[in-house]
Amino acid sequence: MFAAAAIAVLLALALAVIRAIKGPTVFDRALAGNSIGSLAIILLAVVGFLTGRPEFLDIGLTYGLLNLIGTLAVLKFFRHGDLAHDPDTERQS
């Protein structure tokens, strides 16, 4: 059962990687990168149950937070061209 789930997750991972490589727009890549992060969490859980030691499920929480930070940073950079964006300066210019 978990083997079938692992194969399905790996296939989804492969599709997301293809989308991240082909693009063509930044949003395709950002979404594919986010999906790869989410699929990595699922793969962590499935591999944990596959090997009979699901003690590492908590690490999935850390991955989720990191995935959010990375995607937010990418999108913020794309919108403003800067990570330390100050909304006041944009209004003045």
Binding site: A3, L13, V26, L43, L44, I69
Partner: protein, 186 residues
């Protein structure tokens, strides 16, 4: 089954690596590097190195993405086109890579219990770490107690490097702001 997962993840890693080399848009490279880190973390979990996987995910996918994006803000976002292929560099890379693969052949097999590294100080740590350090987690006791000076040195190096980078970026920003003011005056 785990070997199938390993093979699939390694194939995906190789694909992403080639794509990173061929990608000209540096913005796409940053996203692909984040994807590479998550794939690498998954592979490390499949190899049973959970603590290393955690470090790889937080450093590779978390901090590196942010730092690379901050660097893109200071530089251009497209890689300069390659004029001509450097065959000497390719040859050197292939030779060094081949030598490294050759070196791994002499290593003990993955997970072997009778490997030399497991018979040096590891049995002493496993037997006595709780009594000697009072820490229940053996990995933590090795990092923070038995190799405490080593960890202190590493932390000092990373701290110094962080200060250096902050000073560099600060002078960069100050200079650009001064240039903007000059443009505004004209």
């Amino acid at each position: 089954m785990i070997s199938i997962v390993n093979a699939a993840l390694l194939t995906l890693l190789a694909t992403v690596t080639v794509a990173i080399v061929r990608q000209r848009s540096l913005f796409g490279v940053v996203i692909l590097a984040g994807a590479y880190s998550f794939l690498m973390a998954s592979l490390l979990i499949a190899l049973d190195a959970v603590d290393v996987a955690m470090t790889e995910a937080s450093v590779g996918a978390g901090i590196s993405t942010v730092v690379l994006l901050a660097t893109l803000h200071l530089t251009r976002t497209r890689e300069a086109p390659v004029r001509r292929h450097n065959l000497v560099a390719l040859l050197l890379s292939v030779v060094v890579g081949g030598a490294l693969v050759l070196g791994t052949l002499a290593l003990p097999p993955f997970g072997a219990a009778d490997a030399v590294i497991h018979h040096h100080v590891a049995p002493h740590y496993l037997a006595n770490s709780v009594r000697e350090t009072g820490v229940a987690n053996v990995v933590t006791s090795v990092l923070a107690d038995y190799r405490g000076y080593d960890t202190l040195g590493e932390t000092t190096v990373i701290f110094t490097a962080g200060i250096g980078v902050m000073l560099l970026l600060r002078s960069f920003r100050g200079r650009r702001r001064a240039r903007d003011d000059e443009d505004g005056a004209q």
